[in-house]
């Protein structure tokens, strides 16, 4: 019982960051139909920005977070304008491969600049965990969970309450019609990619201090983000949030009660099952596939 409680708490903390990763990707994937292989590298980038600001510039942890998020936003915008905008109208495989090229080049760039040795980022939270009965959780992770929740709410409001969000949703439904209605589709794409990227960078910036920072850290994160997006349905923010928690739950329980060797397999098995029985994801909203 105690073990189960601990697993559930772990799931909450892990699920929050998975959700953050997932919504960034689901926006890009859903609205732009781009299989975005740079998502993981933006996660890595956010973590390194955090490292630079905290350790090399010596600034405060809480100053570093927004800096990393804005840097992710900028890098996302640059990637969209230089690599994706010229290829608008090319098919999904071509843009995917360009993103793969960017991923390979940028990851090797990170290795070149910062080396392969993992970096650790200091945080201002106490080392001793918060203990409630049989359950214990570190303060840093609690902070990460709340920060993630805040960012998720912000992103949700942005999409659902603002004019930009409305235009994004219109573009998702039908980009041609949206263009006819006077939506600047180019601008929407750039904004979408930048926002998605900044969320990935935010996830990296939050998790960098929890884990360690190294050039390949984004690869596993990216695969999980893809899984979450598919579980939740393309372009579906609520789905991505729930998908993030489902994946975290599956991993925790899989490792806790099945076999830790198959921990990562759990998420993939769920995806296979979901797609066999409900091919448009658990929370499909739109019919558009592919």
């Amino acid at each position: 019982m105690d073990q189960l409680l601990q697993h559930l708490v772990n799931m909450l903390v892990l699920g929050g960051t998975y959700a953050l990763l997932g919504i960034g990707l689901t926006l890009i994937f859903g609205i732009m139909n781009v299989v975005n292989f740079t998502h993981g590298i933006l996660y890595t980038f956010g973590a390194y920005m955090m490292f630079i600001v905290v350790h090399q510039l010596g600034l405060n942890f809480f100053v570093a977070l927004p800096v990393a998020i804005v840097a992710g936003w900028l890098l996302g915008a640059v990637i969209e304008i230089t690599l994706l905008r010229p290829l608008r109208g090319a098919d999904i495989d071509t843009t995917m491969l360009v993103m793969i090229g960017a991923w390979i080049a940028m990851q090797s760039g990170a290795l070149w600049i910062w080396g392969g040795v993992a970096k650790s980022i200091d945080n201002p939270f106490p080392d001793a965990p918060l203990v409630i009965g049989p359950v214990s959780v570190s303060w840093l992770r609690l902070f990460v969970l709340f920060a993630a929740a805040l960012l998720i709410v912000l992103a949700y409001s942005l999409i659902n309450l603002t004019k930009l969000g409305k235009a994004m949703r219109a573009t998702f439904q039908d980009s041609d019609t949206a263009a006819l209605m006077g939506v600047n589709v180019s601008l929407i794409y750039t904004s979408t990619f930048a926002i998605g990227s900044s969320l990935a960078a935010a996830a990296g910036a939050l998790l960098g201090p929890v884990y360690v920072v190294f050039p390949q850290m984004g690869d596993l994160a990216a695969v999980k983000a893809f899984a979450i997006v598919i579980l939740g349905g393309l372009g579906n923010i609520t789905g991505a949030v729930i998908g993030g928690f489902i994946l975290a739950l599956a991993e925790e329980l899989g490792a806790g009660y099945v076999s830790s060797g198959y921990r990562d397999a759990m998420g993939f098995l769920i995806i296979i099952m979901v797609l066999i029985f409900k091919p448009t994801g658990l929370f499909a909203r739109a019919e558009r596939v592919g």
Binding site: D2, Q3, Q6, H7, N10, V13, L14, S108, L111, G115, G116, V117, A118, S120, D127, P129, V131, S136, V137, S138, R141, L207, Y211, V212, F214, P215, Q216, M217, D219, L220, E251, E252, G254, A255, G256, S260, G261, R263, D264
Partner: protein, 384 residues
């Protein structure tokens, strides 16, 4: 674009050929290490250690009147590439002996090439027992496979009064091998083996495994992982309030980095290691250890890298001793000479003993194994 690259590379190839002809006055040693990909950090450490040894030897006048030249190639943490690199080093660079290839699967992929070209390789890090038991007479290993480590640990176990242990190991040949060999040894000692949990090589969150271990009635956890994962495990174990004795194995654990990054979480953990850079006076070759550590610091490398890089240093010194003994830089002679050397390595005497099927034995050296403890943020030798 492509045409330019091809043209450029053709020129570069030509230059490479010319320069290899011009520098025939050096003795080449091939170094096959992962410099990009998953193991980039470790491979780079080993290469830096190897460079220190080469520079030291060259500063003292080189070998057989010639300078040593390290031909360093990146195997991209990929077995196919490791085999290709071996092919290049042997056939194109004509290196008569090699050092490599860090990970076990990388080394195993190189091994058929060694037989094909009858060229020896000194294995500095890989721990899979298969490397020296599958009948490849061109392999000489200076790192301890897990059964050697387990045998060394056997003498210590009684003093630690272990009753029941859980394992948390990295899911590769190294972790699996450790769990297998250590639990076999411990069972013989009457110690109960509890859980054997694994984690993926790239995993960052081990909370689930740790929560499971937290719930068992064992008092000790044996952990095998590289330093980055260890750091995370300590942090996450502390966050979960896991209060069990932790013993790490494998010799790559790098207590300094653990102290620096895991802080208080690392206190009271014990580490089986093969090298003691913190107390050079207690190593088998204090003079060389001091030299190596000073040089390492002088070059501005992370002190934490010592526990990985010393293998590169020892590896090159082993090879150099063999070349010296052989009297010529030829593959067959070097291979024979490797059997005859006795080098005072940083972690013990490097003397190769026969291992594997008769007639085609591989060489295995048996380094010292130490148990250290982190206490109050300092590393202390555990008196045994």
């Amino acid at each position: 674009m492509i045409r330019t690259i091809k043209a450029a590379s053709a020129t570069a190839l030509a230059i490479a050929f010319l320069s290899s002809a011009a520098t025939a006055q050096t003795i080449k040693i091939g170094v096959n290490e992962p410099l990009t990909g998953a193991f980039a950090a470790s491979g780079t450490y080993v290469v830096n250690g190897a460079k220190i040894a080469a520079d030291e030897i060259n500063a003292k006048g080189g070998l057989l009147g010639k300078k040593i030249e390290l031909v360093i190639e990146d195997n991209k943490s990929n077995p196919t590439e490791a085999a290709a690199v071996a092919e290049k080093l042997i056939t194109r660079d004509k290196t008569p002996v090699m050092l490599g290839a860090w990970g076990s699967s990388l080394t195993l992929a190189v091994m058929p090439k060694l037989v094909e070209y009858e060229t020896a390789m000194v294995v500095e890090t890989s721990s899979a027992s298969k490397i020296t038991t599958s009948g490849n007479p061109y392999v000489f290993r200076i790192s301890p496979p897990s059964f050697v480590e387990a045998a060394a640990f056997k003498n210590i176990v009684d003093k630690l009064a272990l009753k029941k242990v859980d394992f948390l190991v990295i899911n590769n040949d190294w972790g699996r091998g450790t769990a297998e060999d250590f639990s076999k040894m411990m069972k013989e000692k009457g110690i109960t083996i509890g859980l054997i949990e694994t984690m993926d090589q790239s995993a960052q969150d081990m909370s689930a495994q740790l929560a499971k271990i937290k719930a068992t009635d064992s008092e000790t956890v044996i952990i095998t992982a590289a330093v980055d994962q260890l750091t995370l495990i300590f942090k996450q174990a502390a966050a979960l309030g896991l209060k069990k004795r932790i013993i790490t194995t494998g010799g790559s654990q790098n207590p300094d980095q653990i102290i620096a990054q895991a802080g208080a979480a690392a206190n009271d953990t014990m580490h089986l290691t093969t090298f003691l850079p913190w107390m050079p006076e207690k190593t088998p070759n204090p003079e060389a250890t001091t030299y190596f550590i000073n040089e390492w610091k002088k070059r501005g490398f992370d002190f934490a890298g010592c526990t990985e890089s010393f293998r590169g240093y020892d590896g090159i010194r082993t090879i150099a001793a063999a070349i010296e003994k052989a009297g010529k830089a030829e593959p067959a002679a070097i291979k024979d000479a490797l059997w005859k050397i006795d080098v005072k390595g940083l972690n013990g005497d490097i003397i190769f003993k026969k291992s594997g099927p008769a007639g085609q034995e591989s060489g295995q050296s048996f380094p010292n194994v130490y148990l250290v403890e982190i206490s109050g943020g300092k590393i202390v030798m555990k008196d045994l």
